[in-house]
Structures are given as structure tokens and as C-alpha cells.
């Protein structure tokens, strides 16, 4: 039970890196980027292929970042230079990546049993789970600080403004092609990095492991916002990671309660729908109540006045 619980947190932390990438595209750039389902696997595929060729697992994992960045750049160029709708650009790259990922891997499944970056982590002298947790927390925090710092640079501010008003950015001499392309490249680099780590954590890379990853990322971002709030960039990034952990915990509980693993994707979709609708329903209900009270109060005064 405790192992399953800790496992969920560990996986949640790794998905937290993906969630921060999705936060960058979906929230900062206001761009629903479906490249994610493909670039998640690209990261794992690049890492596994290099690993199989005897490259150090650390270098292989870092190279995964590059694979994701290339995928994000493609989506960014399609939508900016090619003027293809954002959603469609992402879908096109995602579907193309499926074939590319298979070519990189050479087959549809690569087992990663020993010699990955998980081995030295597990060998740390704090016990398996504490070592893994500590390392993952440090890793996620490092990624978060990098992304936070980037969004605080002169270029990063222009990236953030692009999601608000591209017109404003251009009017102030900023190049929105550059901000979108670089933003999506970094976002997908994070996603691919997450994919490479998840593959090593679970012990294999599978070409289908990316299906629904964008939904997982969105779930993390939205759940995080609802539960923890995201009033500024660093809180937004932290909330995305928190959301990813909560999401994995909910999934772990559902599996424990008897959810069939084949129903996992359905459960994921339902969680996102609920996370999207619930806050809106609650606000609407509160507004309706306030309105009713205001009407009651107004009518009450009127009645008083008439009596008076």
C-alpha cells in the first residue's frame, strides 16, 4: 500500500516535468499543443536508441531534450510560418512522429532493464524510495527553476506576452514567430525529457506510451490550478507539478479500488472533464445565490419602504 502510494508520487514527479511543459504551451502561450503525445515518446525513443548503442544513460537522457525541441520547433513553424491552425499543426507533427519514433526505436518496444539512470539513484544510501523521491524532487525543482528563470528573461517576457496579445508584442518590436517557436521547442523538450525518465522508471519504452499524454498534462495543469492556484509563473509551475502528483495518486487509488487498467484512459478523460467543469459550476452557483440574495434584499427594502 505504502509502496504503491510512494510509487504514485514518484511517477507524479516525473509527469510533473511534462506538466510544466504543457503549462508553457497551454497556459503561457495559450496554445493547445497536441505534439505532446508524439514528443513524449520521441524523448523515450531517442534515449533508448542511444542507450542500446552504448551511450551513457545520462547523455542519452539529456539528448532526449533535443528530440523534443526539434518536434516543438516543427509544430511552431507549421503554425507561424505555415499559418496552419495550432491544433492541426500539433496533430500533424504528432502523427508524423509516430513513424519517426518507430524508426528511431527500430521496433515497437525496448526493455530497459539494467544500466539506466535509475540504477545509481536506487544505489543512493537512503533506501530505494527515499533516494528516488529525493532525486526526483531535486530534478523537478531544477527543471522548474530553469523554466521560471527563462520566463523572467527579456525574451521570456515576450513569450508570455505572446500568449496574451501577439498584436502587442509585434507593436513593441517583438517577433511572435520566434516567441512561439522557441516556446513550443522548450515545452516539448520538457515533455521529451519526462518521457525519457518515465521510460527508465517503468523499465521499457513502448511506441504507444504517449497516447493521451496531452490529456495527462492538461489534467495536471488544471487540477493544480484548482487545488493550489496559479497567480504567477512560479506558482503556476508548482501547481502543475502538484497537479501531476495528485493525478497519479487518484489513478493509483482508482486502480486499487478495482478500476480495470484498460479503463485508465477513460478515467483520465473523466477527471479532466470534472476538473474543468466543477470550478465553473461552483462559481455559477455562487453567483446565482448572490443574485438571489441581492434580489431578496432589494425587495425587502422596498417592502420596508412601503410599510414606512
Amino acid at each position: 500500500m505504502i509502496a504503491a502510494f510512494l510509487g504514485a508520487i514518484e511517477l507524479g514527479l516525473l509527469y510533473g516535468i511534462l506538466a510544466m511543459g504543457v503549462y508553457l504551451s497551454f497556459r503561457v502561450l495559450d496554445f493547445p499543443d497536441l505534439t505532446v503525445d508524439g514528443s513524449f515518446v520521441t524523448g523515450a525513443a531517442v534515449m533508448s536508441a542511444l542507450f542500446l548503442h552504448g551511450v551513457s544513460p545520462w547523455i542519452a537522457t539529456l539528448t532526449a531534450l533535443l528530440g523534443g525541441a526539434v518536434a516543438g520547433t516543427l509544430t511552431g513553424l507549421l503554425t507561424t510560418k505555415g499559418h496552419i491552425q495550432g491544433l492541426l499543426s500539433g496533430i500533424l507533427v504528432q502523427i508524423g512522429l509516430y513513424s519517426i519514433n518507430l524508426r528511431i526505436m527500430g521496433r515497437s518496444n525496448i526493455p530497459l532493464l539494467a544500466g539506466t539512470v535509475m540504477d545509481p539513484i536506487a544505489a543512493l544510501p537512503f533506501g530505494l524510495h527515499v533516494s528516488t523521491l529525493l532525486t526526483f524532487v531535486a530534478l523537478v525543482a531544477f527543471c522548474g527553476v530553469i523554466l521560471w528563470a527563462f520566463l523572467g528573461t527579456a525574451f521570456g517576457l515576450a513569450v508570455r506576452a505572446t500568449g496574451d496579445s501577439p498584436q502587442m508584442v509585434r507593436a513593441l518590436g517583438g517577433h511572435t514567430t520566434a516567441t512561439v517557436v522557441v516556446g513550443l521547442a522548450i515545452s516539448n523538450a520538457f515533455v521529451a525529457f519526462s518521457g525519457a525518465l518515465v521510460a527508465q522508471y517503468q523499465g521499457f519504452t513502448d511506441v504507444t506510451m504517449g497516447i493521451g499524454m496531452i490529456v495527462v498534462g492538461l489534467a495536471a495543469v488544471i487540477i493544480g490550478e484548482v487545488l493550489f492556484g496559479a497567480p504567477n509563473v512560479w506558482r503556476g509551475l508548482a501547481a502543475a507539478v502538484g497537479g501531476a502528483i495528485v493525478f497519479r495518486l487518484v489513478i493509483a487509488l482508482a486502480l486499487r479500488a478495482g478500476l480495470a487498467p484498460t479503463d485508465l484512459k477513460l478515467a483520465t478523460a473523466v477527471i479532466v472533464v470534472v476538473a474543468l467543469l466543477l470550478p465553473r459550476w461552483l462559481t455559477q452557483r455562487r453567483q446565482r445565490q448572490n443574485l438571489q440574495q441581492a434580489v431578496d434584499a432589494a425587495l425587502q427594502e422596498k417592502a420596508d419602504a412601503q410599510v414606512g
Binding site: 523572467g152 528573461t153 527579456a154 525574451f155 517576457l157 508570455r160 496574451d164 496579445s165 502587442m168 518590436g173
Partner: protein, 264 residues
């Protein structure tokens, strides 16, 4: 300092909806000119500003700024020299970013945006001084999200963002039209002050004839994509709204009520 030579712009070219938005316009601006532009709906006022700003290239003609031909330059490149304020208060600012962050982006107009910190101590002080000078108390709200400001405050902020680096040219596209009268008056006052202080060459599109007469040293009336007439200097100072309407009537053979100009 700015020349438009025979500039034309068509929309929906080659379709049944084809429309000549701007037709063979020639216009020369001298340093320090403040030109107000009036005209009814569809006269080509916004198209003219967008052509100067580089939102789209002209179909014919040349645009020259300070001796450099900028006809084919894209918007972001021209923006190094051209400040703009839009009609929609939401268009000129980033609502989810703070006042300080918005201004930090504006202060980098025409500079390379690299990986240096977007906001440093020196820039923050510069921003505080500029905001204090604006006189709206925004200098105490540096960390406030711009989306929480009123429309008037946002336009005032956009105006500051458009002028804080002393651009060569300031383009105002009905920037007070979406505001209620008292806020519009405030932003107009601010515009006059900033333009006068920095001696900015300015083109202001407005739907308000009275405002067009009161501000600036030149006035242009556009109609059907052409410059119908222009008045300047003492002639402009003496002119009344009635004079403008009569001039339009004489030249165009149509009568126009002030309402039509206001109906934007």
C-alpha cells in the same frame, strides 16, 4: 520624416467583395507634425495607420521613414521606430502580466530580447519614475495584473508603453473611442502632454471632429480611401466642426452629418 508615395491597399482582391481601402495616397510628415485623421466608417483611416505600422504591406506605392524605404519591412522591425496605441484597451497590453512586466517589454523596443533578466533594478526605477509622472498612482501598483486595471488606466499605460522609448512616430488608432467620456478626456489630456513633452511626430485617427480640430497642427479628412482635404496651421485653428461638414459637402456633393462621423 515620413513619406507615403502613391500608396494603395485593396482587400479581398479578385473576389466579389473586392474593396479599395486606400487609393493612391500621398502624404508627407515633417518632424514634430501632429496630424489628426477623420473620416466616416470605411474611409480607410485604420488601413492607413496599419500600412504605416506594417501590419500588412501596400499593394502599390512606397513608404519611406527617415530616408529609409520601409515598404517591405515587417511590423516588428518597424516597431523599433513606431509606437502605437489601439482602440481596444485589451490589445495593447498583456492582461495576465503585471504593470512592471508590461513596461519592461515596452522599454526593450528596438533592442535585442535575449536571456538577460527582463526586469532589473535600474529598469524598475525607471518604470516607477515614468509611472509616477503619469499621475494615476500606478507607481504603487507595479505588481498588479494589468487585466485588473480599468479601460482608461490600461489606455494610459499603453500610451506610456508606446512613448517611453521616444519613438520617431506615434500612431493612435481611435485610442479613446472605447472609453467613457471622463476617461477619454483624461487619456486625451495625457496624449497632448506626452506628445508635447517629447515633441513626437504623431498620427491620430479619431471619430471626434471637435477633438480632431483641437489637437495637432494638421487635419486630414479621408473619404473612400482618398485624402478629401487637408487643413493646417492657422486655417485649422480657425476651423469649426461646421466648416468641416460644409467642406465635405462641397467636395463630395453628399451631405454628412456629424453623426455619421461619430457612428464608428
Amino acid at each position: 520624416m515620413l513619406q507615403l508615395e502613391n500608396v494603395s491597399k485593396l482587400f479581398f482582391t479578385g473576389t466579389v467583395n473586392q474593396r479599395v481601402a486606400v487609393r493612391k495616397i500621398n502624404l508627407t510628415l515633417e518632424d514634430g507634425d501632429f496630424v489628426t485623421v477623420i473620416g466616416s466608417n470605411g474611409a480607410g483611416k485604420s488601413t492607413l495607420l496599419n500600412l504605416i505600422a506594417g501590419v500588412y504591406p501596400p499593394d502599390r506605392g512606397r513608404i519611406v521613414l527617415d530616408g529609409k524605404e520601409i515598404t517591405s519591412w515587417e511590423e516588428a522591425r518597424r516597431a523599433a521606430w513606431i509606437g502605437r496605441v489601439f482602440q481596444d484597451p485589451a490589445a495593447g497590453t498583456a492582461p495576465r502580466m503585471t504593470i512592471a512586466e508590461n513596461l519592461a517589454i515596452a522599454y526593450r523596443r528596438g533592442q535585442r530580447r535575449g536571456l538577460q533578466w527582463g526586469l532589473n533594478k535600474a529598469l524598475r526605477e525607471q518604470i516607477e519614475v515614468a509611472l509616477a509622472d503619469l499621475g494615476l498612482g500606478l507607481e504603487h501598483r507595479l505588481q498588479t495584473k494589468v487585466g485588473l486595471l480599468s479601460g482608461g488606466e490600461r489606455q494610459a499605460l499603453t500610451l506610456l508603453m508606446a512613448t517611453c522609448t521616444q519613438p520617431r512616430l506615434l500612431l493612435l488608432d481611435e485610442h479613446t473611442a472605447a472609453l467613457d467620456p471622463s476617461k477619454a478626456a483624461l487619456v486625451t489630456q495625457l496624449t497632448e502632454r506626452l506628445v508635447a513633452e517629447q515633441r513626437l511626430t504623431t498620427v491620430m485617427v479619431t471619430h471626434n471632429m471637435e477633438q480632431a480640430l483641437r489637437l495637432g497642427n494638421r487635419l486630414i479628412m479621408l473619404h473612400s480611401g482618398r485624402i478629401l482635404f487637408e487643413i493646417q496651421g492657422s486655417e485649422k485653428r480657425r476651423a469649426t466642426v461646421r466648416d468641416l461638414l460644409e467642406a465635405f459637402h462641397q467636395l463630395q456633393g453628399e451631405t454628412m452629418t456629424e453623426d455619421e462621423l461619430l457612428m464608428n
